[in-house]
Symmetry: C2
Subunit: 338 residues, 2 copies
């Protein structure tokens, strides 16, 4: 049987107080860097590890936040997972990652993850049933929807962008360039993001006496968008196809551009102007130069971390709905000089 080192042993070897050892392991606690260095060195020599799990049973805090993700092939989400993990890590929390199938009901996964006694749950582009939302509220576990809208009045928070305003911006950009036949390629039709982007887009077209010329559904997937693009543009009669298209996210817009240029030999923007949503890093790549409505990922992450930590640390903090502004980034795919 190996003798397990305690904080007393570490304090003795490091020549510091026991409370200094404790503070060295408490994220955010005040401790001099030299003291911390001595503690870590002594801890390493003795093989000492403060027992986070035993501490959880005492404090009821695991310092883990579950993040339920899917769609990681859409580059918007890897960026979010990385930056959100880093942000929470800086506050002493770590992300327990759960991968959901695209469009999977999150409920069954949530049952699993509640076993880990996470302090909070962030759902990326997923929703949960009202029954399970209540279960989480009863258990005192804050839940936050990222890039989706929670029902008003419920116990679930949400951080999203002003998708309706974004849809309006996309329409204005295409109308300003003089396009008369404007199409729309939708994402998941029952998602709040698609609903709000499409609502804003149609509303703005209407204010200028237009309506959508063609519509197809890409389900937010690369392959779905390819099918939608072939359906919308695969006609030999140029008058029968749109000369501009708003695609509900960049991930799909890139697939649409590949079909337009590679398969259908149409030029972007001369034959078809394309605008997406998110402003993922790839939109700026020279091979696409994709105009896009930018979601401010950094601001969304900051709002998520602040709200989640506030709710974890004070259970009287109520669920909130954060709605962040978006902006148009014009590039070559809508004819802007780059």
């Amino acid at each position: 049987m190996v003798k397990v080192a305690t904080s007393v042993d570490v304090a003795k070897l490091a020549g510091v107080s026991q409370s200094a050892v404790s503070r060295a392991y408490t994220p955010g606690a005040s401790v001099a860097e030299t003291t911390r260095g001595k503690v870590m060195e002594a801890a390493r020599k003795l093989g000492y590890r403060p027992n986070a799990i035993a501490r959880t049973l005492i404090t009821r805090k695991s310092r883990m936040i579950a993040v339920v993700a899917s769609y990681l092939d859409n580059q918007f989400y890897p960026v979010v997972v990385e930056k959100l993990s880093k942000r929470l890590q800086d506050d002493g929390y770590h992300v327990l990652l759960f991968i959901a199938e695209a469009n999977q009901e999150a409920d069954e996964l949530l049952m699993q993850l509640m076993q880990y006694h996470v302090d909070g749950i962030v759902l990326l582009s997923a929703t949960l049933s009202s029954g399970l939302a209540k279960d989480c509220a009863d258990a005192g576990i804050p839940v936050l929807l990222f890039n989706r809208i929670a029902q008003a009045g419920g116990t679930v928070s949400s951080v999203a962008s002003d998708n309706e305003a974004g849809g309006r911006m996309a329409a204005r950009a295409l109308l300003a360039a003089g396009h008369q036949r404007i199409g729309y390629i939708a994402g998941m039709e029952d998602s709040s993001t698609n609903r709000d982007r499409e609502t804003g887009f149609n509303a703005e077209l209407a204010t200028q006496g237009q309506r959508v010329f063609a519509r197809a559904v890409g389900h937010y997937s690369f392959e779905g968008a390819q099918v939608a693009a072939r359906q919308m543009f695969g006609t030999l009669d140029a008058a029968q196809r749109p000369n501009a298209v708003f695609v509900a996210n960049d991930h799909m817009a890139i697939a649409v551009m590949d079909v337009l240029r590679g398969e259908l030999k149409l030029r972007v923007p001369q034959d078809v102007a394309v605008i997406g949503f998110d402003n993922v890093p790839q939109a700026a790549w020279g091979g696409y130069s994709l105009s896009s409505i930018e979601q401010d990922a950094q601001a969304m992450i900051e709002a998520t971390a602040k709200l989640m930590l506030a709710q974890i640390n004070d259970e009287t903090v109520a669920a909130q709905h954060v709605n962040l502004s978006v902006r148009l980034i014009e590039r070559g795919s809508t004819g802007a000089a780059v």
Copy 2:
């Protein structure tokens, strides 16, 4: 004080045995789907959660595996994080995610994550000091390097591709196309991936009486690769620049193609043939059509999961080094018809 539901309460309400409740919550245990459904329904009604953390203290297993990642802007890694998480999840394990700064020593992060009593540690493109490797071994925590090579004879496992063979393949593909001035853009120079790819590349050039015409270092970053490309190709004298280049990964190769075509107005492949490494999803995009040496991510993940779970479940299983084969995928950037 809320009365906490127990497995006895759940068994009674579901009309099943207590052992059926236990099996319903044990990943991999045999239990009929209808029984499992009844248990989950009853558990939901009663707000029952088996206490994973208390169970950890008894079994010494947390069913969490730490994954230390960085470089998530390189699309190879989000794919790996997603598929590895899903694969481990299917076996009842979850990933506790730690984000390291690129090139950060993993040691300090590892000290943090050992507090969570994870059952194992996977380092994506990172290494650890021999001192810490010993600490993990002493604590009985298996460690696996993914896409890096561990020192032979040590206690740390590794799963990587045959990078040297890949470097040879890249050289052969460029030589076969008749190129005489072949450049190399390196990744992190002290990484095993860069070292082995470059060694194989140079060795193959030598067998055909050539040597590398120009060399620059891109440090595996997008910005680093842009700088390297400007340095290597930013001359007006065509005879002074390479007419083909092997870039140590696709993430950098895309940046190089953007500089070549967008800034320097050189054609790919007519003026410069480009080949990368990894075969990330973006390499197949029409905007790049990038030839690449494919790493078999799926096979790497399967090997990682199998080895990690074997070591967790049987501490007599020794550290192993898995070396998977790679293959050439030819596309338009080296002149292949697509």
